[in-house]
């Protein structure tokens, strides 16, 4: 497990380094994710330890958003002042984004010979 965590952190560190060095607009962990994907392709896949540790972390991805989410209390004032436009813009644009993405991918791929599984 420790090796797997060290590996994930090393890829995150590599991602951060690339981001700062090349002034990339994408955060370090996302670059780290891309680098790890390349590494997995070259290696032919993750070992059991990496698969297990990643599985545990991903199973609790929701937990990692709780500390930042609790920060909502800092903005109660502005949220209350502009509640209406914020609520409508947030809900409507998220729905539009969901439908635009889901429907376009659905229609672009439905003629394929049945998706596997």
């Amino acid at each position: 497990m420790i090796q797997a965590i060290a590996l994930l952190l090393a890829f995150q560190l590599a991602g951060e380094t690339l981001r700062v060095a090349l002034h990339l607009p994408v955060p370090g962990p996302v670059i780290g994710m891309a680098l790890l994907l390349v590494w997995l392709v070259l290696r032919g896949g993750p070992d059991d330890a990496l698969r297990g540790t990643s599985g545990t972390l991903l199973q609790h991805l929701s937990l990692m958003f709780v500390p930042a989410g609790t920060g909502v209390m800092l903005h109660a004032g502005r949220l209350a002042d502009e509640a209406w436009p914020i609520a409508v813009a947030l809900v409507a644009s998220t729905l539009l984004g969901l439908l635009a993405t889901g429907l376009s991918l659905h229609f672009l791929t439905r003629h394929r010979s049945g998706s596997p599984r």
Binding site: I5, M64, R78, G97, T109
Partner: protein
């Protein structure tokens, strides 16, 4: 134990990172139990339940957010390595992702532009203030990218983080039900839409549905972050000129 001793213990503990770190985990475990009890219903969203309980606790005890975060930052830190770990499900679905590359890129462009520009347009037309609108526009993108984009547009980074989280929770609760209603049920489309419109929280929801759905969500989250960071900063001024 008398009241003074209780107060003394509280004063000591409430200044330690240990207390709020432990409470964050305990509240999350409770939220997961409630989510299971509700049969995995999306409305019993673990992030929503945890945040609601923690905000109530902080307000009741008069604890400032900064003191809470001193403890909770250890959990927050795990977001980085966990994002890196998304490479594993992406790798296991790689063949399928590559075989769908064309449709995925088109859906990415349509979905990303729709989510970002509609947030900006609706917010502006309803009279939200300029910093609020600039903070709303990148709300479908994962937090660190969204905060960077909002700052370039004249928004507030911390307000953007809140919109990102609210968007994530909203999408995680409603996405699969709404998509099912319009006949979109395949794992690829549901997952890709969840990750694109609701970033990491949508991706967490997608993993509750299946690993395949989660892999498509993780891909959409990464691609939309990149695409939005490149397009939104020059598209929004254009949009602003049209609306005015």
């Amino acid at each position: 134990m008398n009241g003074d001793a209780m107060t003394e213990i509280w004063v000591y503990l409430s200044a330690q990172p240990l207390l709020w770190l432990t409470l964050t985990l305990a509240v999350y475990i409770l939220a997961i139990a409630l989510h299971r009890r509700a049969g995995g219903h999306p409305a019993a969203n673990p992030v929503l339940i945890s945040v609601s309980i923690l905000v109530a606790l902080l307000l009741l005890t008069g604890t400032p957010y900064q003191r809470y975060f001193d403890g909770a930052q250890f959990v927050h830190f795990l977001l980085g390595p966990t994002t890196v770990a998304l490479a594993i499900p992406l790798h296991s679905q790689l063949k399928r992702l590559v075989s769908m590359a064309g449709p995925l890129v088109i859906a990415l462009m349509i979905g990303s532009l729709t989510a970002g520009l509609s947030a900006y347009a609706i917010g502006s037309l309803l009279g939200a203030s300029a910093p609020t609108v600039a903070s709303l526009a990148p709300k479908s993108v994962t937090t660190p990218i969204a905060m960077g984009i909002a700052e370039r547009l004249g928004g507030l980074a911390s307000l953007t983080a809140v919109f990102v989280i609210l968007t994530g929770i909203f999408g995680a609760i409603f996405a699969d039900g709404i998509l099912k209603r319009v006949g979109v049920k395949d794992e690829a489309s549901v997952g890709f839409a969840l990750g694109l419109a609701s970033h990491g929280i949508g991706t967490a929801r997608a993993f509750q549905l299946s690993e395949q759905t989660g892999a498509f969500a993780a891909l959409a989250m990464g691609l939309n972050g990149l695409f939005t960071a490149i397009t939104l900063p020059w598209l929004l001024p254009l949009m602003a000129a049209i609306i005015r």
